[in-house]
Amino acid sequence: MSADVMVHMQGVTKRFAHVWALRGIDLELQRGRCLGVFGANGAGKTTLLKILATLTRPSAGTVTIAGYDTVREATKVRPLLGVLGHRTFLYGDLNASENLRFYGRLFGVSQCEERAAELLQAVGLEAHTRQLVRTYSRGMQQRLAIARALLHQPPLLLLDEPYTGLDQHAVERLQSLLHGLLQTEDRTIILSTHDLQRGLRICDEIVIQSRGKIVYRGAAADTASADIEQLYSDYVK
Protein backbone atom coordinates (compact mmCIF):
# COMPACT_ATOMS: atom_id res chain seq x y z
CA MET A 1 0.00 0.00 0.00
CA SER A 2 1.58 3.24 -1.07
CA ALA A 3 1.81 6.23 1.19
CA ASP A 4 -0.71 8.00 -0.98
CA VAL A 5 -3.58 5.73 -0.12
CA MET A 6 -5.82 7.47 2.36
CA VAL A 7 -8.58 4.94 2.75
CA HIS A 8 -8.42 1.20 2.23
CA MET A 9 -11.32 -1.14 2.86
CA GLN A 10 -11.13 -4.85 2.26
CA GLY A 11 -13.89 -7.39 2.55
CA VAL A 12 -15.90 -5.20 4.86
CA THR A 13 -19.17 -6.65 6.03
CA LYS A 14 -21.58 -5.27 8.56
CA ARG A 15 -24.47 -7.04 10.07
CA PHE A 16 -27.17 -5.73 12.41
CA ALA A 17 -29.05 -8.65 13.96
CA HIS A 18 -30.24 -10.41 10.80
CA VAL A 19 -29.89 -7.52 8.43
CA TRP A 20 -26.81 -7.28 6.28
CA ALA A 21 -26.06 -3.60 5.78
CA LEU A 22 -22.76 -4.16 3.98
CA ARG A 23 -21.49 -7.19 2.13
CA GLY A 24 -17.91 -7.59 1.04
CA ILE A 25 -17.01 -3.97 0.39
CA ASP A 26 -13.63 -3.29 -1.21
CA LEU A 27 -12.62 0.30 -1.62
CA GLU A 28 -9.51 2.34 -2.03
CA LEU A 29 -9.08 6.07 -2.22
CA GLN A 30 -5.99 8.12 -2.85
CA ARG A 31 -5.09 11.20 -0.92
CA GLY A 32 -6.54 14.43 -2.24
CA ARG A 33 -9.33 12.76 -4.17
CA CYS A 34 -13.05 13.12 -3.75
CA LEU A 35 -15.20 10.00 -3.77
CA GLY A 36 -18.93 10.08 -4.23
CA VAL A 37 -21.00 7.21 -2.86
CA PHE A 38 -24.35 7.04 -4.55
CA GLY A 39 -27.26 4.83 -3.73
CA ALA A 40 -30.86 4.71 -2.70
CA ASN A 41 -31.98 4.85 0.89
CA GLY A 42 -31.11 1.63 2.63
CA ALA A 43 -28.27 0.84 0.26
CA GLY A 44 -25.80 1.04 3.10
CA LYS A 45 -24.20 4.42 2.48
CA THR A 46 -24.59 5.62 6.03
CA THR A 47 -23.24 2.37 7.45
CA LEU A 48 -20.24 2.64 5.19
CA LEU A 49 -19.50 6.13 6.40
CA LYS A 50 -20.09 5.21 10.04
CA ILE A 51 -17.54 2.44 9.77
CA LEU A 52 -15.05 4.85 8.26
CA ALA A 53 -15.83 7.33 11.04
CA THR A 54 -15.05 4.64 13.66
CA LEU A 55 -18.56 5.08 15.01
CA THR A 56 -19.21 1.41 14.51
CA ARG A 57 -17.09 -1.67 13.85
CA PRO A 58 -17.27 -3.91 10.83
CA SER A 59 -18.50 -7.44 11.43
CA ALA A 60 -15.75 -8.66 9.12
CA GLY A 61 -12.98 -7.19 7.00
CA THR A 62 -10.40 -4.51 7.58
CA VAL A 63 -10.43 -0.77 7.22
CA THR A 64 -7.34 1.38 7.29
CA ILE A 65 -7.19 5.13 7.17
CA ALA A 66 -3.80 6.69 6.55
CA GLY A 67 -2.32 3.33 7.37
CA TYR A 68 -4.00 2.98 10.77
CA ASP A 69 -6.48 0.21 11.42
CA THR A 70 -9.78 1.79 12.42
CA VAL A 71 -10.63 -0.88 14.94
CA ARG A 72 -7.36 -1.43 16.71
CA GLU A 73 -5.93 2.05 16.35
CA ALA A 74 -9.11 4.06 16.55
CA THR A 75 -7.58 6.70 18.81
CA LYS A 76 -5.00 7.46 16.12
CA VAL A 77 -7.60 7.56 13.38
CA ARG A 78 -10.13 9.88 15.01
CA PRO A 79 -8.07 13.10 14.97
CA LEU A 80 -7.73 12.65 11.21
CA LEU A 81 -11.46 12.66 10.58
CA GLY A 82 -14.00 15.40 10.05
CA VAL A 83 -17.46 13.89 10.23
CA LEU A 84 -20.77 15.26 9.04
CA GLY A 85 -23.51 12.80 9.93
CA HIS A 86 -27.27 12.77 9.82
CA ARG A 87 -27.39 14.48 13.20
CA THR A 88 -25.48 17.70 13.59
CA PHE A 89 -23.61 17.02 16.86
CA LEU A 90 -24.50 20.57 17.88
CA TYR A 91 -25.97 21.83 21.15
CA GLY A 92 -29.22 23.66 20.51
CA ASP A 93 -28.94 25.86 23.56
CA LEU A 94 -25.50 27.20 22.76
CA ASN A 95 -24.80 29.66 20.00
CA ALA A 96 -22.63 28.98 16.98
CA SER A 97 -19.46 30.40 18.37
CA GLU A 98 -19.88 28.60 21.72
CA ASN A 99 -20.40 25.30 19.93
CA LEU A 100 -17.29 25.80 17.83
CA ARG A 101 -15.21 26.92 20.76
CA PHE A 102 -16.27 23.87 22.76
CA TYR A 103 -15.30 21.45 20.02
CA GLY A 104 -12.19 23.48 19.37
CA ARG A 105 -11.10 22.98 22.95
CA LEU A 106 -11.85 19.29 22.74
CA PHE A 107 -9.81 18.90 19.59
CA GLY A 108 -7.06 21.05 21.01
CA VAL A 109 -7.22 23.54 18.17
CA SER A 110 -4.75 26.34 18.64
CA GLN A 111 -6.07 29.90 18.39
CA CYS A 112 -9.53 28.57 18.72
CA GLU A 113 -11.36 31.88 18.58
CA GLU A 114 -9.78 32.98 15.33
CA ARG A 115 -10.28 29.62 13.75
CA ALA A 116 -13.95 29.59 14.72
CA ALA A 117 -14.50 33.09 13.34
CA GLU A 118 -12.74 32.16 10.12
CA LEU A 119 -14.89 29.08 9.64
CA LEU A 120 -18.12 30.88 10.44
CA GLN A 121 -17.22 33.33 7.70
CA ALA A 122 -16.42 30.52 5.28
CA VAL A 123 -19.83 28.94 5.74
CA GLY A 124 -21.63 32.27 5.72
CA LEU A 125 -22.86 32.32 9.28
CA GLU A 126 -20.89 35.31 10.52
CA ALA A 127 -24.07 37.33 10.96
CA HIS A 128 -25.67 34.73 13.18
CA THR A 129 -22.98 33.82 15.64
CA ARG A 130 -24.84 35.03 18.70
CA GLN A 131 -28.05 33.20 17.94
CA LEU A 132 -28.83 29.92 19.61
CA VAL A 133 -28.43 26.99 17.27
CA ARG A 134 -31.91 25.90 18.19
CA THR A 135 -33.23 28.89 16.24
CA TYR A 136 -31.31 28.04 13.08
CA SER A 137 -32.93 26.65 9.98
CA ARG A 138 -31.96 23.17 8.90
CA GLY A 139 -29.67 24.64 6.23
CA MET A 140 -27.92 26.87 8.73
CA GLN A 141 -27.43 23.99 11.12
CA GLN A 142 -25.96 21.92 8.33
CA ARG A 143 -23.52 24.68 7.50
CA LEU A 144 -22.47 25.00 11.12
CA ALA A 145 -22.04 21.25 11.31
CA ILE A 146 -19.68 21.46 8.35
CA ALA A 147 -17.74 24.20 10.09
CA ARG A 148 -17.53 21.95 13.15
CA ALA A 149 -16.21 19.09 11.05
CA LEU A 150 -13.48 21.32 9.60
CA LEU A 151 -12.40 22.82 12.89
CA HIS A 152 -9.32 20.72 13.50
CA GLN A 153 -8.33 20.64 9.83
CA PRO A 154 -8.73 16.90 9.35
CA PRO A 155 -7.13 15.38 6.27
CA LEU A 156 -10.17 13.17 5.65
CA LEU A 157 -13.73 14.47 5.48
CA LEU A 158 -16.68 12.14 5.69
CA LEU A 159 -19.94 13.76 4.66
CA ASP A 160 -23.15 11.82 4.90
CA GLU A 161 -25.78 13.38 2.64
CA PRO A 162 -24.45 16.92 2.98
CA TYR A 163 -26.97 18.41 0.59
CA THR A 164 -30.03 17.43 2.59
CA GLY A 165 -32.03 20.43 3.63
CA LEU A 166 -29.92 22.94 1.72
CA ASP A 167 -31.38 25.40 -0.73
CA GLN A 168 -29.70 26.15 -4.03
CA HIS A 169 -27.72 29.04 -2.66
CA ALA A 170 -26.40 27.04 0.26
CA VAL A 171 -25.54 24.16 -2.05
CA GLU A 172 -23.48 26.46 -4.26
CA ARG A 173 -21.67 27.73 -1.24
CA LEU A 174 -20.97 24.22 -0.04
CA GLN A 175 -19.71 23.16 -3.45
CA SER A 176 -17.26 26.03 -3.64
CA LEU A 177 -16.11 25.32 -0.10
CA LEU A 178 -15.45 21.71 -0.96
CA HIS A 179 -13.70 22.69 -4.17
CA GLY A 180 -11.44 24.94 -2.18
CA LEU A 181 -10.61 22.18 0.25
CA LEU A 182 -9.75 19.77 -2.52
CA GLN A 183 -7.69 22.14 -4.60
CA THR A 184 -5.83 24.31 -2.20
CA GLU A 185 -5.70 22.23 0.95
CA ASP A 186 -5.29 18.74 -0.47
CA ARG A 187 -7.99 17.19 1.67
CA THR A 188 -9.56 13.85 0.92
CA ILE A 189 -13.33 13.75 0.84
CA ILE A 190 -15.86 10.97 0.82
CA LEU A 191 -19.42 12.04 0.47
CA SER A 192 -22.60 10.10 0.14
CA THR A 193 -25.70 11.38 -1.54
CA HIS A 194 -28.61 10.33 -3.68
CA ASP A 195 -28.38 13.56 -5.63
CA LEU A 196 -26.48 12.42 -8.67
CA GLN A 197 -26.08 15.79 -10.38
CA ARG A 198 -24.59 17.66 -7.50
CA GLY A 199 -22.35 14.80 -6.55
CA LEU A 200 -20.95 14.39 -10.04
CA ARG A 201 -19.93 18.00 -10.23
CA ILE A 202 -17.55 17.72 -7.34
CA CYS A 203 -16.38 14.13 -7.24
CA ASP A 204 -13.36 12.62 -8.92
CA GLU A 205 -14.47 9.03 -8.48
CA ILE A 206 -17.81 7.48 -7.85
CA VAL A 207 -19.22 4.22 -6.60
CA ILE A 208 -22.81 3.15 -6.72
CA GLN A 209 -24.04 1.12 -3.80
CA SER A 210 -27.03 -1.15 -3.88
CA ARG A 211 -28.23 -3.41 -1.12
CA GLY A 212 -24.94 -3.36 0.70
CA LYS A 213 -22.69 -4.02 -2.27
CA ILE A 214 -20.75 -1.83 -4.63
CA VAL A 215 -22.22 -2.39 -8.06
CA TYR A 216 -20.36 0.22 -10.07
CA ARG A 217 -17.05 1.91 -9.70
CA GLY A 218 -15.45 4.51 -11.96
CA ALA A 219 -14.04 7.96 -12.49
CA ALA A 220 -16.61 10.70 -12.69
CA ALA A 221 -14.99 12.25 -15.74
CA ASP A 222 -15.08 9.03 -17.76
CA THR A 223 -18.75 8.46 -17.62
CA ALA A 224 -21.12 10.83 -19.26
CA SER A 225 -23.82 12.05 -17.02
CA ALA A 226 -26.58 10.39 -18.99
CA ASP A 227 -24.91 6.99 -18.77
CA ILE A 228 -24.52 7.29 -15.06
CA GLU A 229 -28.14 8.21 -14.67
CA GLN A 230 -29.16 5.15 -16.61
CA LEU A 231 -26.89 2.94 -14.57
CA TYR A 232 -28.10 4.51 -11.39
CA SER A 233 -31.76 4.02 -12.10
CA ASP A 234 -31.04 0.46 -13.21
CA TYR A 235 -29.49 -0.40 -9.91
CA VAL A 236 -31.87 1.54 -7.79
CA LYS A 237 -35.01 0.00 -9.29
Binding site: T75, Y91, D93, F102
Partner: protein, 229 residues
Amino acid sequence: MLSSRRFVRQGLAILLKDLRLEWRTRAIFTSMFVFTVLVMVVFNFAIGADPERIRAVAPGVLWVALLFATVLGLQRAVQVESEEDCLQGVLLAMGDRSALFVAKAVVNVCYLSVVALGALPLFSIWFRIDIISCLGALSIVLILGIIGLSLVGTLFAMISANTRTRGLQLPLLFLPVSVPLTIAAVYATTELIQGRGLPDIRDYLTLMVVFDVVFFVVTLLVFDYVVEE
Protein backbone atom coordinates in the same frame (compact mmCIF):
# COMPACT_ATOMS: atom_id res chain seq x y z
CA MET B 1 -3.94 9.17 32.51
CA LEU B 2 -5.30 11.52 35.11
CA SER B 3 -2.36 13.86 34.96
CA SER B 4 -2.30 14.22 31.22
CA ARG B 5 -2.89 17.73 30.03
CA ARG B 6 -5.25 16.62 27.34
CA PHE B 7 -7.33 14.76 29.93
CA VAL B 8 -7.67 17.88 32.02
CA ARG B 9 -8.30 20.12 29.02
CA GLN B 10 -11.02 17.91 27.60
CA GLY B 11 -12.58 17.23 30.99
CA LEU B 12 -12.71 20.93 31.76
CA ALA B 13 -14.15 21.76 28.35
CA ILE B 14 -17.00 19.31 28.89
CA LEU B 15 -17.57 20.47 32.45
CA LEU B 16 -17.75 24.12 31.44
CA LYS B 17 -19.95 23.36 28.45
CA ASP B 18 -22.44 21.49 30.63
CA LEU B 19 -22.50 24.22 33.24
CA ARG B 20 -22.94 26.88 30.58
CA LEU B 21 -25.79 24.94 28.98
CA GLU B 22 -27.41 24.53 32.36
CA TRP B 23 -26.98 28.16 33.24
CA ARG B 24 -28.76 29.11 30.05
CA THR B 25 -31.74 26.85 30.42
CA ARG B 26 -31.69 25.96 34.12
CA ALA B 27 -33.86 23.05 33.14
CA ILE B 28 -32.06 20.31 34.98
CA PHE B 29 -31.45 22.17 38.18
CA THR B 30 -34.99 23.50 38.38
CA SER B 31 -36.59 20.13 37.92
CA MET B 32 -34.26 18.57 40.48
CA PHE B 33 -34.91 21.26 43.04
CA VAL B 34 -38.66 21.39 42.57
CA PHE B 35 -38.85 17.62 42.77
CA THR B 36 -36.85 17.56 46.00
CA VAL B 37 -39.20 20.10 47.52
CA LEU B 38 -42.23 18.14 46.31
CA VAL B 39 -40.98 14.94 47.88
CA MET B 40 -40.43 16.66 51.21
CA VAL B 41 -43.87 18.22 51.15
CA VAL B 42 -45.70 15.09 50.09
CA PHE B 43 -43.96 13.02 52.74
CA ASN B 44 -44.99 15.53 55.34
CA PHE B 45 -48.61 14.95 54.39
CA ALA B 46 -48.21 11.23 53.99
CA ILE B 47 -46.68 10.67 57.40
CA GLY B 48 -49.37 12.48 59.26
CA ALA B 49 -49.57 15.25 61.78
CA ASP B 50 -47.45 13.88 64.59
CA PRO B 51 -44.38 16.13 64.74
CA GLU B 52 -42.27 13.58 66.56
CA ARG B 53 -42.92 11.01 63.89
CA ILE B 54 -42.09 13.50 61.20
CA ARG B 55 -38.81 14.35 62.88
CA ALA B 56 -37.95 10.69 63.17
CA VAL B 57 -38.29 10.01 59.45
CA ALA B 58 -36.84 13.32 58.31
CA PRO B 59 -33.34 12.07 57.38
CA GLY B 60 -34.87 9.27 55.34
CA VAL B 61 -37.07 11.72 53.51
CA LEU B 62 -34.14 13.98 52.73
CA TRP B 63 -32.10 11.18 51.20
CA VAL B 64 -35.02 9.71 49.27
CA ALA B 65 -35.60 13.16 47.83
CA LEU B 66 -31.93 13.41 46.82
CA LEU B 67 -32.01 9.93 45.28
CA PHE B 68 -34.96 10.72 43.09
CA ALA B 69 -33.55 14.12 42.23
CA THR B 70 -30.38 12.40 41.03
CA VAL B 71 -32.35 10.08 38.78
CA LEU B 72 -34.35 12.96 37.36
CA GLY B 73 -31.33 15.16 36.75
CA LEU B 74 -29.42 12.38 35.04
CA GLN B 75 -32.30 11.51 32.78
CA ARG B 76 -32.53 15.08 31.59
CA ALA B 77 -28.79 15.34 31.10
CA VAL B 78 -28.86 12.23 28.94
CA GLN B 79 -31.68 13.73 26.93
CA VAL B 80 -29.64 16.85 26.16
CA GLU B 81 -26.74 14.80 24.87
CA SER B 82 -28.82 12.57 22.68
CA GLU B 83 -30.78 15.31 20.96
CA GLU B 84 -28.47 15.79 18.03
CA ASP B 85 -26.28 12.82 18.89
CA CYS B 86 -23.87 15.23 20.50
CA LEU B 87 -22.41 12.44 22.58
CA GLN B 88 -21.15 10.80 19.39
CA GLY B 89 -19.65 14.07 18.28
CA VAL B 90 -17.86 14.46 21.59
CA LEU B 91 -16.66 10.86 21.68
CA LEU B 92 -15.10 11.30 18.25
CA ALA B 93 -12.97 14.09 19.65
CA MET B 94 -11.98 12.43 22.92
CA GLY B 95 -8.57 11.04 23.63
CA ASP B 96 -9.01 9.29 26.95
CA ARG B 97 -12.75 8.73 27.20
CA SER B 98 -12.83 8.51 30.95
CA ALA B 99 -12.34 12.28 30.98
CA LEU B 100 -15.93 12.42 29.75
CA PHE B 101 -17.11 10.28 32.64
CA VAL B 102 -15.25 12.27 35.27
CA ALA B 103 -16.55 15.55 33.84
CA LYS B 104 -20.13 14.29 33.82
CA ALA B 105 -19.87 12.98 37.37
CA VAL B 106 -18.43 16.28 38.61
CA VAL B 107 -21.25 18.17 36.90
CA ASN B 108 -23.74 15.96 38.72
CA VAL B 109 -22.04 16.60 42.03
CA CYS B 110 -22.39 20.32 41.33
CA TYR B 111 -26.10 20.09 40.58
CA LEU B 112 -26.82 17.91 43.61
CA SER B 113 -24.80 20.15 45.89
CA VAL B 114 -26.73 23.23 44.84
CA VAL B 115 -30.01 21.36 45.23
CA ALA B 116 -29.01 20.17 48.69
CA LEU B 117 -27.97 23.69 49.64
CA GLY B 118 -31.34 25.02 48.61
CA ALA B 119 -33.28 22.20 50.22
CA LEU B 120 -31.57 22.26 53.61
CA PRO B 121 -33.22 25.43 54.91
CA LEU B 122 -36.64 24.10 53.91
CA PHE B 123 -35.77 20.79 55.48
CA SER B 124 -34.84 22.50 58.67
CA ILE B 125 -38.04 24.52 58.78
CA TRP B 126 -40.55 21.90 57.75
CA PHE B 127 -39.18 19.06 59.79
CA ARG B 128 -38.24 21.33 62.71
CA ILE B 129 -34.68 20.17 62.83
CA ASP B 130 -31.78 22.24 63.96
CA ILE B 131 -29.12 21.78 61.35
CA ILE B 132 -27.00 24.79 62.21
CA SER B 133 -25.31 23.07 65.10
CA CYS B 134 -24.22 20.09 63.02
CA LEU B 135 -23.80 21.87 59.73
CA GLY B 136 -20.13 21.07 59.28
CA ALA B 137 -20.47 17.35 59.91
CA LEU B 138 -23.69 17.23 57.92
CA SER B 139 -21.94 18.79 54.95
CA ILE B 140 -19.36 16.02 55.03
CA VAL B 141 -22.03 13.35 55.02
CA LEU B 142 -23.86 15.14 52.24
CA ILE B 143 -20.80 15.52 50.05
CA LEU B 144 -19.73 11.90 50.49
CA GLY B 145 -23.22 10.73 49.66
CA ILE B 146 -23.56 13.03 46.68
CA ILE B 147 -20.24 11.87 45.25
CA GLY B 148 -21.29 8.22 45.51
CA LEU B 149 -24.68 8.86 43.98
CA SER B 150 -23.13 10.83 41.11
CA LEU B 151 -20.56 8.14 40.31
CA VAL B 152 -23.03 5.28 40.21
CA GLY B 153 -25.74 7.40 38.64
CA THR B 154 -23.61 8.75 35.81
CA LEU B 155 -22.44 5.28 34.84
CA PHE B 156 -25.92 3.83 34.77
CA ALA B 157 -27.27 6.91 33.01
CA MET B 158 -24.88 6.34 30.15
CA ILE B 159 -25.81 2.68 30.01
CA SER B 160 -29.51 3.30 30.08
CA ALA B 161 -29.23 5.98 27.39
CA ASN B 162 -28.67 3.19 24.92
CA THR B 163 -31.67 1.10 25.85
CA ARG B 164 -35.21 1.11 24.56
CA THR B 165 -36.83 1.99 27.88
CA ARG B 166 -34.24 4.43 29.01
CA GLY B 167 -36.51 6.14 31.51
CA LEU B 168 -37.07 2.93 33.37
CA GLN B 169 -33.66 1.37 33.28
CA LEU B 170 -31.86 4.07 35.18
CA PRO B 171 -33.77 3.92 38.47
CA LEU B 172 -34.06 0.15 38.16
CA LEU B 173 -30.30 -0.19 38.18
CA PHE B 174 -29.35 2.81 40.23
CA LEU B 175 -31.58 2.44 43.28
CA PRO B 176 -30.68 -1.10 44.40
CA VAL B 177 -26.97 -0.64 43.80
CA SER B 178 -26.89 2.54 45.87
CA VAL B 179 -28.66 0.92 48.84
CA PRO B 180 -25.50 0.75 50.99
CA LEU B 181 -24.88 4.44 50.45
CA THR B 182 -28.48 5.31 51.22
CA ILE B 183 -28.53 3.35 54.46
CA ALA B 184 -25.22 4.75 55.66
CA ALA B 185 -26.17 8.30 54.73
CA VAL B 186 -29.54 8.16 56.42
CA TYR B 187 -28.15 6.75 59.63
CA ALA B 188 -25.24 9.13 59.69
CA THR B 189 -27.64 12.04 59.21
CA THR B 190 -29.93 10.73 61.94
CA GLU B 191 -27.08 10.47 64.42
CA LEU B 192 -25.89 13.96 63.60
CA ILE B 193 -29.21 15.69 64.02
CA GLN B 194 -29.69 13.87 67.29
CA GLY B 195 -26.67 15.72 68.52
CA ARG B 196 -23.90 13.22 68.11
CA GLY B 197 -20.59 14.13 66.56
CA LEU B 198 -18.33 12.90 63.79
CA PRO B 199 -16.53 10.28 65.90
CA ASP B 200 -19.86 8.57 66.58
CA ILE B 201 -20.59 8.09 62.92
CA ARG B 202 -17.13 6.93 62.06
CA ASP B 203 -18.46 3.56 60.84
CA TYR B 204 -20.90 5.09 58.44
CA LEU B 205 -18.37 7.57 57.16
CA THR B 206 -15.92 4.75 56.53
CA LEU B 207 -18.49 2.88 54.53
CA MET B 208 -19.35 5.89 52.47
CA VAL B 209 -15.70 6.58 51.73
CA VAL B 210 -15.16 2.92 50.83
CA PHE B 211 -18.23 2.98 48.59
CA ASP B 212 -17.04 6.11 46.82
CA VAL B 213 -13.53 4.82 46.30
CA VAL B 214 -14.62 1.36 45.13
CA PHE B 215 -17.09 2.75 42.66
CA PHE B 216 -14.70 5.41 41.43
CA VAL B 217 -12.20 2.73 40.54
CA VAL B 218 -14.72 0.28 39.10
CA THR B 219 -16.52 2.87 36.98
CA LEU B 220 -13.28 4.21 35.54
CA LEU B 221 -12.24 0.68 34.65
CA VAL B 222 -15.46 -0.20 32.86
CA PHE B 223 -16.34 3.14 31.31
CA ASP B 224 -14.55 2.44 28.04
CA TYR B 225 -16.77 -0.56 27.57
CA VAL B 226 -19.86 1.55 27.98
CA VAL B 227 -19.09 3.95 25.15
CA GLU B 228 -17.30 1.77 22.67
CA GLU B 229 -19.30 0.36 19.80
